[in-house]
Amino acid sequence: MKNLIFKKNIERRFFFLSALKGISFGVLSWRLFDLQVIENKKYDKLSKENQFNFSLVVPERGQIYDRKGRVLAANRDAFSLYIKSSKNLNLSEILKKLSSITTLNEEDINNFQIRYKNLKKNNINVFITDNLSKRDISKIAVRLHEFPKVNFLMTKKRVYPQGAITSHLIGYTGKLTENDLKRNKNLINFSNLRIGKYGIEKFFDNQLRGEFGRRREEVNARGKIITSNLYENPNPGKNLNLSIDLNIQSYALSRLQNINTKKREYVEPETGSVVVMDVNTGELICCVSSPNFNPNIFTRGINPKEWKSLVNNKKAPLLNRAVSGLYPPGSTIKMAVALAALESGVIGYDNKFFCNGVKEYGDMKFHCWHKYGHGNINLSQAIERSCDVFFYELGLKVGIDKIGLMLNKLGLSANINLELSEFQKGLVPSKKWKLDNRGTRWTPGETINASIGQGYMLSNPIELCTMTARIANSEMSVEPTLLKNKTKKFLKLDINKGHLNYVKNAMSNVVNNELGTAFKSKLNSQSIKMAGKTGTVQVVRISEEEREKGIIKNKDREWKKRDHALFVGYAPLEKPKYSICVIVEHGGSGSVTAAPIAKDIIEKLLI
């Protein structure tokens, strides 16, 4: 009996322990289910992180060509220096040794150390620099056995074969900065990435950059790479075909920089710009700004001294004068004033004014450039000889707002979408503008100034070239573009054809008539003729006293105080093809300095 109770007892305990076994197996099963089924994704990700190291592959940046397929921006092979991250690496020692045999940039080293600190994994190549000269590379290569963790990778480097010729236009690329990342959320923070910082490189950065690829390396627990392959191919950036003609571009630049070619001594390059545009398509054939710079120094890594000399240069070589240089347009807008007058009907083709050299309004005197006056002349003659007094009278009759509207219609201070972010719109004042911005009412004296393109009025060379192109085209409101074969429909130019032809005829007389201001720049051709308009813009106001003493000749004035020389024009007369705008800062008179440059370039283009 006792034995039986005992037996029962041991079996009760046995079942208790068996239940414990069952529960334990249940717990294990649940644990496996939890790890393998419920949390599978998490562990799968961790396993892949163990298994693979992914690295980004930089896409090749798109190339830039001129309209005839000549290379303006390309990539060439270069070497980048990397350090492979690992535990217990004496980083400062390696960097010290490296910089003792090469010229490592301090900024590069600092950036590298930040990058290295933020690493979470070992055995990853950390980028140091791609700014090594061939000498540096061979120096390191020879002693590579001393740096077991240092290695090179092939990368691409941006080159601009045309150098300074296309400097402002193409721009340059630079290292990705914090600001770039803040501005553009689509950018990937990648140490070796360069993005467009200026010019076309900046404006078309998204297209040129392409899309990153990924390289996948399978690594074991000790960090040894087992396999390595391209996981996603990089998408190279798109190539760009610009409307620029490299020949004309370089010719215009040389013409602008060596104005006095006959003199043997060194002549400081003129500051100014030349813009040539196709009047039918709006394609810009040349877009030159002087002085310029060599964009390749930005690829190589500009040193602080070079940068300072560029920034502190009084002639501002980094400024693209063709698109962001704002000048008073001067007499070059007289066609627009004439058109405004003709369109509003305040003047006929043959109405005449008398110019005696000065216009008195109230107690103010407004002088014509011709001291003794042009006499009794009509509108066409006034344009031809650039009579100021005639336009003073005309401006007063038309009024500033109508002049402003016509200027807008012709592209000044209008919405021009040029493919350069440096583009700066000019200013065409109006009564409202004056009240809003200066807080005072518009005065008739200001209208007088504005009608010869002085005073508040400002415009850039692109705008002036567009204005000329629209007059020459007479049908469409052409818009400038830097891309070749960009098919865009232009709006109709809503100006009376007769009036346009009248003004165009007057512009032809400027160049081709003996009394015209640019007669000396008549083309050397019987069949092809150019039309145009000169402009000479006062930079400093000439006082009455100075005028009585006799105006000091331009040459004798301080450079900064000399007049700007302007010329706008188009050619040929019949079926116009090109419009041109030349501005030489402080170059003296438009007819002497600017018009001959335009003549040479047009001749190069057409003859």
Binding site: L17, S24, F25, L32, L35, V37, Y43, N50, Q51
Partner: protein
Amino acid sequence: MFTSNKFYKPDSILKNFFKLDWILLFVVLVICIIGVGALYSAGDGSLKPWALNHIYKVIFGFFIVFILSQFKINFIMNFSVILYIFCILCLIYVTHFGVGDVKRWIDLKYFFFQPSELAKIAIILLLAKFFTYFPNNSKNILYNLIAISLVLIPGFLIINQPDLGTGSMLILLGFAIIFLNGLSWNVILSITLVSLISIPVIWQNLLEYQKYRILVFLNPELDTLGKGYQIMQSKIAIGSGGMFGKGYLAGSQSRLDFLPEKHTDFVYTLISEEMGFIGSMSLLILYFVIIIVLMREFLKEEDFTNKIIIFGISFLIFLYVIFNIGMVSGLIPVVGAPLPFISNGGTSLITIFIGLGIIQSIRVSRNV
């Protein structure tokens, strides 16, 4: 003390052969084959260095089972005390002359002998003998204290090696048998209470580094480079296996050596990674089948001594499985416990086969 004149069974060997538990042995064989497959994978798709070696050991293991099944259980029990004393002596020996950095093994020229494994069999047999000789005294405290010290002596010797896993497994095994025999609930409750109260007092008196060691033991993830790393990688491997696994020979964690000791303690991780939840669960069920078969054996058995032995051995197998899978899946701390029939360990594999052999001996000795 021979209770029978014949220490072997004179009936024809062939007849005994049919008396073996073929279901049990078949399941064991299946698990062993899975083990060979897993070790082939652990060797990067090669029979060397582990898979072939494992085949030999398994064959040797089955040989032991057949040999032991030929002896009468009473004959085997004659050696229980001697075996126990032998194990204690060996354990003392290894602490002074053992090989390996943790001094667990005795170098026997052809293989390394690990006395702590054999001690598990010894404690089962000894306790069975002890409770048979002094039956039905389970309420007596002194009686239980003797039994407990019989367990604790080898237990602490092993923990002192230090081999916490094997030591605590042996102590748990011994306590389970004492509990089965009828240790009164009052004693159990008071022991639990005393240890719970003493924990904070002991903790207060520990040095900083000792506290840290215990903390790492309880939560290995504190030690990110050592055991924490191992267990994290093991969890990643198991979890990344998913439902169907990464495929045989295609486990990235083990192939790329992120998995430590994939041929011994972490072999279950490798199987889980390559075969997924389906594979790991199937293997777990196979082990469960063994436990169930042995439970049936327990219930069929009439003799008290044999009941204790069968329970002890089945509980030993259970502990191995729970310790190992619990460890690799991060449920319990890393203590070092092999997976029965699969891990490429020497003594532990043979120990379990000896256990199975003893059970077969009981079965064959039974007069059905």
